[in-house]
Amino acid sequence: MNSFKLKLIYPKWQKLRGQTTFNLPPHGPVAFAATLPEWVDVSFTDENVEPIDFNEECDGVALSMMLSTQVKRGWEIAEEYHKRGKLVMAGGISTMLHAEDTVNHVDCVFLGESEGRMEEVMQDWVNGKLRKFYNYMGNMPPIESVGPCRRDLYKRELYNHKGVQMVDLFHASRGCRFSCYPCAVSYLGGRKFRPRPIDKVVEDMAAIENNRLFIVDNSLAQNKEWEKELFTAIAPLKKKWISHTIEDDPEVLDLAAKAGAWYVYQAVYDTSDYIKERVKRYHDYGIGVEGTILLGLDNQTEDDIKRLIDFLGEIDLDLAEFTVMTPFPHTKGYDDLLRQGRIFDFDWNHYNAGQVVFQPKHMSPERLQELYDYAWKSFYASESQEQKMFRLFCNVALREMEEGTYRPRDRRLANKSFGRDVDRNVRNVNV
């Protein structure tokens, strides 16, 4: 019988300055861990909330990376382990996006989804035959094989802010039939929408020791019948959840609200009545809205951006998140800007969607950076991001109290924020 002690690491990244930082328990590492053979003993460190003990005993190291801003740190971590004679494997979304570079820093790159594949990989590893590449790009495992994540690996107290447990991330589907300009999901997860079987979703969701979730699927609005079936099935669990876009349909919105929809991320890309009405319709069903606003697209002049920021004040958004156009590899945005010679910065640490790395069409990079900063300041001028979040939190707490599912905050952690002592003199919490 084999045995193998695997150190699984989620590298840290530089958080965006000036923004309230909340560390959510990452989904990728625990989804990956669930696909490992039983004989692999996993120890997990999320470097965003605790330091790595490079001397912890292990037989090998796996890096799980989601963001472009994690990859360079991942390479540094690999180097540290190489000094200690350990082999390092890398996988995850940003490993796939930056595989050509990452392969120069690690011993093995795993490309694709890991369900049903890790027995072979780990057998190779223990037999000293770990390959440089395991390439399953475009070769998706059956969606039925996606099982519950290894949430037992989380150190829960590190994902807690002043006694309030952070939401758990959850996924009900993979793939995306849309192919949006700045997005690489269709490259990574395929252009085919792959919903998980509803009974598995319900079973998985019910087992999570958390009443608040973030359903991280790219967009739930991909198949109306599936959406209706999903919402109907999860309603009895009385979970409260955040998600990306929900179908703009009264029946679906009603079912979503009854199923516990707390708030959604909704792209606000213009100042049309359609957007205004879209936000209103969510609110009509008691669903909050966090607007996601992408700045720096080629169809935006300075005036357009200013008008868009002003417009946000008119549509009663609960929260807003601003990003600047960032040409992530394997997106149409990358292709277009590359062809036009407009990408001037290929330092992946700067690909955080808050730093301009390309030449905008209608303004200088510096001006776009100023407008991005102005957007954040302007939207949160009268009420801070943390205050607005608290308002949304109160909404969900009241609903939970009505339904008898409210769990009071953990008083033992009231003076802790993501594992660190709270400095009561600091208004915003930055970790």
Binding site: M137, G138, Y181, N299, H330, K332, D335, D336, R339
Partner: protein, 120 residues
């Protein structure tokens, strides 16, 4: 975002990044003694790597399949018009020069240039 078949004579299947099965539209034209190879991005009907990201890897595969020499062709990438409301999906053509250091150079072609090539 279905791409009109007017943009291509055939669908060309190729091995994309990490050997992902990929597809593009392909049109080959002779004009004024030159061979023009026009590859069109198919968006939703391309399951793998984009034509731009595939770059020379795609050009090499077309040359091999069609008995052409890379140095003898004029290679053009086409972003087809998808009738999207978004301007990012407007029609564009780029002539691509493949340099030895893989720093490809792109020159945008105007409508009249491309009409001249495809009309003959």
């Amino acid at each position: 975002m279905k791409v009109s078949p007017d943009y291509y004579d055939e669908i060309f299947s190729f091995n994309g990044e990490w050997d992902m099965p990929s597809a593009c539209g392909l049109k080959i034209r002779q004009s004024e003694g030159k061979t023009y190879v026009i590859v069109t991005e198919l968006y939703q009907d391309n399951p793998g790597t984009s034509v731009t990201y595939a770059g020379q890897k795609l050009a090499d595969q077309i040359c091999e399949a069609k008995g052409l020499k890379l140095s003898d062709i004029v290679y053009i990438e086409c972003n087809p018009n998808t009738n999207s409301k978004l301007s990012f999906y407007d029609e564009e053509f780029f002539q691509v020069s493949f340099d030895a250091d893989l720093q490809h150079r792109y020159r945008q072609l105007d409508r009249s240039e491309i009409m001249k090539i495809t009309a003959e």
